[in-house]
Symmetry: C2
Subunit: 209 residues, 2 copies
């Protein structure tokens, strides 16, 4: 019933409009009428196609997630290639993905878990092969690693402003803060163990209670 190209056009237009608006303002802050207006259709048509606002949101989720998961002929997430591709993908999609993670939809949560899982295996392999350092808590490290890669999605606006780049999703800004991130991932920030020992002290004091 929906394999026709004729209806896919309208559906796609609405979905793209929703993607942009939801990503920019958050789903709760955008009315169906706003989406419809941007897609150049009546708001009733949005309901006609997606049943409800929630239905539209889910379809956006599914679409974006499929983009992240499925590159051209790529199998499931074996490494962070999908994520890396995602970070280079189009602005609206990125923005939407960031929102989805922040708003904590079940689908986004599942994707997050998947990415962390893959990253943990990837880093484990790296440790075995010698190009990654061992960790005292590999799972937590993988989780933090992923979270940090995602961070610019949430705070990209501030990041670009601080770096003096007008567009939060400008490629040059992305490249620049990527470099800084990789620098930290490669050599760290601190030259000694003072932060680590400070953490130990906090934990010890907390345990004492």
């Amino acid at each position: 019933m929906r394999s026709d190209k004729g209806d896919l056009k309208a559906r796609a237009r609405i979905r793209n409009a929703a993607l942009e608006l939801f990503g920019a303002e958050g789903a709760t802050g955008v009315s169906l009428r706003a989406v419809a207006a941007r897609a150049g259709v009546s708001h009733a048509l949005v309901l006609h196609h997606f049943g409800s606002k929630e239905g539209l949101r889910k379809e956006c989720d599914a679409y974006v997630i499929s983009l992240v998961r499925g590159g051209p002929g790529v199998e499931a997430l074996e490494d962070t290639a999908g994520l890396a591709a995602m970070l280079e993908a189009a602005g609206p999609v990125r923005r939407y993905l960031g929102r989805a993670f922040m708003d904590g939809t079940p689908e986004a949560a599942a994707l997050y878990d998947e990415i962390v899982e893959a990253t943990e295996r990837w880093l484990e392999q790296g440790v075995a092969e010698g190009w990654a350092r061992p960790s005292q808590d590999p799972r937590a490290r993988a989780a933090i690693y992923v979270t940090w890669l995602l961070a610019p999605l949430a705070f990209g606006e501030h990041l670009s402003r601080v770096l003096g780049v007008p567009d939060p999703h400008d490629m040059d800004a992305t490249l620049r803060h990527s470099r800084a991130g990789i620098e930290i991932f490669t050599g760290g920030v601190f030259a000694d163990d003072r932060a680590l020992t400070a953490w130990e002290a906090v934990r010890k004091e907390r345990r004492a209670r």
Copy 2:
């Protein structure tokens, strides 16, 4: 007797309720009536005190920011509960702060800039004193550092879920991922320069175009 917060002035009760709800769902997704209900007052009183929803939001911003800046908050002194109230408020305040950064209010932006600025100077000093590694792009590094520290505010829900801790703002979860973060900040993740050289390759290829 009415409730545990019965002693607090209505104004503070409303502000605290708004803090919790706005932080949890985002300001646009929470109605004034919901705030009023949580504070145990009529929704008209919210308007009476704060003029408008935007006024309430700004007051929340100002309050949270004053807490972050560490200065003696005006209302903080009125809350006789002292430290206990402070710790209890810590969770909601953190959540709210994360939302404020994500939603990009002007006040939050200014605070962000301030923090990055201070961090950059701090790291610069660290480099001079030898406990921080030099960076090729100190400003970008400071921005990324701050952004990464803030990341758990945005993705704390996923982080705690992946670590198997029920409450996203549980102290133990915070402690655990903090440790992983400090580990990275201290020693990095990668044992060689392959990520760095890969980045260089990407930049070069991009420049060629």
